[in-house]
């Protein structure tokens, strides 16, 4: 009696074995079955932190890239933003399993061990795909350069804005003939404006939504107004703290006054945007709220944070493309990553719909961008960015914000005196300056990954 024919169990086992072997084979080749299925020669693995409206816009841009570049398949993964994202990216780069392209906040790049966890951009390749330094705001570009090499390709800047309800304020005289908020140049003018606005504010609403209890927002507002006063953080060599306690006290008193004078409410510290939709005249929010407010069909405008200390400056961060470290970076995949990043940066009109200001300056002068309101009203923020200092412990939701943010909050809510909080901030900055960067074992003063 001969061997029976292939039964169902053997067939399934055979298919399973082939699948596993195939997967291992694809993995070894550095490509995937999905890339082959799409007919693409190259697959670019891309990690980002964009969800919500940003996620929708990014996916639309990726789809446009896929259509324009059928030879490149983009395998995009969206991970939770903030520290979980940075932890995953660091561990993937350290374990040589990094994606081909990633996104980071520009302020975090310095602390992300450029040269070890990040690879520099190939300027020739970027130039080949039409990206040149001259097309970017110089301050933005300079922040991305470390030890003379470009480690981040800026996609946008996102800023803190003063949103205002035109329909609520029209009876007050605070809206000029051009339909925009009348300019403010001093603290007194600003509080005079709030006093007027309070008269037309519906009962139960705040005059301004301020994220009073949020350590990140309060810190961002502090950075903006401290920069307006010309305040500095450290000396050029990062060896000494130059933080000015008097200027900081002035800023903290200014923030505190909103609560003390009854324009903002600690009990409604995190519902500024919701209240704005319901009729609160002002709210200070990130530009990412533009799609929310536009979606609600509000009659509103948005300016950079008011220059109450005489000089324009609003807090700004930037989403940037990075190349997470790969031992054998190069070849078609690396070229694909450059091509994809250059494409998205240059086609950021879609991205601007999410409220962000495109970093690629030629976009800003296009007719399509000029038509965007209120985006076009605050585009000037690109030229007066207030940033965190360029040290390893700074950047979005980084150690600096984590340490100093609660101190700002304690002053704004009234549980610490502004002068005492300012002195404490100086002490915290000195401690951070003396702290060693765990990535390279150096303090900021000892150099490390600082330009």
């Amino acid at each position: 009696m001969g061997r029976p024919g292939l039964n169902r169990r053997q067939l399934l086992a055979g298919i399973g074995g082939l699948t596993v072997a195939g997967s291992i084979g694809f993995a070894a080749l550095g490509t995937g079955a999905d890339a082959l299925a799409s007919g693409a020669d190259t697959r670019v693995r891309y990690w980002n932190l964009f969800s919500g409206g940003d996620g929708y816009n990014m996916i639309a841009m990726l789809d446009a890239f896929r259509k324009a570049n059928p030879g490149i398949d983009v395998k995009d993964s969206t991970l939770q933003w903030g520290n979980p994202f940075y932890t995953k990216l660091a561990m993937a780069a350290a374990g040589n399993r990094a994606p081909d392209l990633g996104v980071m906040h520009l302020g975090r790049v310095t602390g992300f061990s450029p040269g070890r966890l990040l690879d520099p951009w190939d300027m020739d390749l970027l130039a080949k795909y039409g990206v040149r330094e001259a097309d970017f705001n110089p301050k933005l570009w300079k922040r991305a350069v470390i030890d003379g090499k470009l480690y981040a390709l800026p996609l946008d800047i996102h800023v803190q804005l003063c949103f205002y309800r035109k329909d609520v304020l029209k009876k007050t005289g605070l809206i000029g003939d051009d339909g925009k908020l009348v300019p403010v140049t001093s603290v007194d003018e600003w509080f005079g404006m709030l006093k007027e606005a309070k008269k037309v504010t519906r009962k139960g609403l705040q005059t301004i939504g301020l994220w009073i209890n949020d350590q990140n927002f309060q810190w961002w507002f502090f950075v903006a107004f401290y920069t307006q006063l010309g305040g500095t953080w450290f000396n050029a060599g990062n060896t000494e703290v130059t933080f000015d306690v008097d200027k900081a006290t002035q800023v903290l008193e200014f923030l505190r006054r909103h609560v003390a004078d009854g324009y903002a409410n600690t009990g409604m510290g995190t519902v500024g945007a919701e209240q704005f939709v319901n009729g609160t005249p002002f709210t200070w929010e990130g530009n990412w709220s533009v799609p929310v407010f536009s979606g609600a069909k509000l009659e509103y405008g948005a300016t950079p944070l008011p220059p109450v200390f005489g000089k324009q400056a609003t807090h700004a961060e930037s989403h940037s493309f990075v190349l997470p470290h790969q031992a054998g970076r190069g070849g078609a995949t690396n070229e694909g990553a450059h091509r994809l990043a250059a494409y998205v940066v240059k086609h950021a009109r879609q991205w601007a719909a999410g409220g962000h200001i495109p970093a690629y300056t030629p976009t800003l002068s296009t007719a399509a961008y000029r038509k965007l309101e209120p985006q076009h009203e605050y585009v000037g923020a690109m030229n007066h960015q207030a940033n965190e200092p360029k040290v390893w412990f700074a950047g979005s939701t980084g150690i600096l914000a984590q340490e100093v943010g609660p101190t700002v909050v304690s002053s704004t809510v009234g549980s610490a005196k502004p002068a005492a909080a300012a002195a404490r901030m100086r002490k915290q900055l000195a401690e951070l300056l003396a702290m060693k960067n765990p990535m390279d074992g150096h303090t900021a003063a000892q150099g490390g990954a600082v330009a």
Binding site: T87, G267, T270
Partner: protein, 313 residues
């Protein structure tokens, strides 16, 4: 009694055979049992013993999250921890939370168990209501109470006519987490008490009644003494669980440290040091310190219990 020579010869042989077969059984039992235990042992070594030993090693290094530049720095991490005010603050917060939660949960679980034990109508419904929150994942319970405590739109303020900033003011934030924890976890202690109450023999109460003991006397002289062991167990388990405060607070505070750092627990601080500040070596050192503290609490509780039992004897 006398024995024949034949019996004398046979007896040791029987004994030997019996001993041999016991050994064989033990060996077979070990072999079979060993196979049953092996998967657990493997997982235990892989996910508990090895990480623990690795953690001890890392605590003597300056390892970062990338892990490839670690160098041995002796006791430096431990020396730094002794002067780390953030660490002591977070430890104090975990201890404060424990002090608030443990007595409340013990008393509440006892009262609920008494209620469910004595009530006649709808007994199953009471048991279900008290125990069910314990079945919820921590994220679900945390999110639920985050909504309830929302100062603008939350039901707590609405129902009680309050204007309390539960989650945004440092005076209330920890209290909000305590209330959520009580609701979420009381079911387990409640179940232990209920089982213990059902185990108290009914004749004790009958005898006491015949002797004229009223309800209060029966509670003080029968119920509470009979529940002493279970109370010890509930307190010990709650102390160990509460010291490890993490999920409730991070979910309710949106993964932040709470208003002015008022809810940052020790476990959260350890996580931040390791995964935000990337200081894996230092995070390992403070987690070892925490391990020692928790072990000391557990040993102290055992020692107290043993002394009390010996005293009772």
């Amino acid at each position: 009694m006398t024995t024949t020579s034949a019996e004398t010869v046979i007896a040791p042989a029987r004994a030997r055979t019996a001993a041999d077969s016991a050994t064989v059984r033990r060996k077979q039992g070990f072999q079979h049992g060993g196979w049953f235990v092996a998967p657990f042992l493997l997982l235990f070594v892989l996910f508990v013993t090895w990480p623990l030993l690795r953690g001890v090693y890392l605590s003597f290094t300056d390892a970062n999250i990338a892990g490839d530049t670690a160098s041995f720095i002796g006791l430096d991490n431990y020396r730094e921890a002794l002067h780390d005010s953030m660490m002591w603050d977070s430890l104090g917060r975990s201890a404060y939370f424990t002090l608030l939660v443990v007595p409340c949960i013990t008393v509440l679980a006892f009262l609920l168990a008494m209620l469910a034990h004595h009530i006649e109508r709808g007994k199953w419904l009471w048991r279900l209501c008290f125990f069910m929150p314990f079945l919820l994942p921590s994220t679900v319970a945390g999110n639920l109470w985050q909504w309830l405590f929302n100062s603008g739109t939350g039901m707590v303020n609405y129902v009680f006519g309050l204007d309390t900033p539960w989650l945004t003011d440092k005076s209330y934030a920890m209290l909000a987490i305590v209330i959520e924890t009580l609701w979420w976890t009381v079911g387990f202690a409640f179940l232990l008490y209920l089982a213990a109450l059902q185990g108290i023999p009914g004749h004790l109460y009958e005898a006491a009644k015949l002797d004229g003991a009223n309800a209060w006397h029966r509670m003080v002289h029968i119920t509470l003494p009979m529940l002493r062991n279970i109370t010890g167990l509930v307190v010990a388990l709650q102390i160990l669980a509460s010291l490890q405060l993490f999920d409730q607070s991070v979910v309710m505070m949106d993964f932040g440290p709470g208003p002015e750092n008022s809810t940052r627990s020790f476990v959260q601080y350890t996580l931040e040091e390791g995964f935000t500040s990337y200081r894996v070596g230092y995070a390992s050192a403070i987690s070892i310190i925490f391990f020692v503290i928790i072990a000391a609490v557990a040993l102290a509780r055992m020692w107290l219990l043993r002394n009390r039992e010996e005293g009772a004897r």
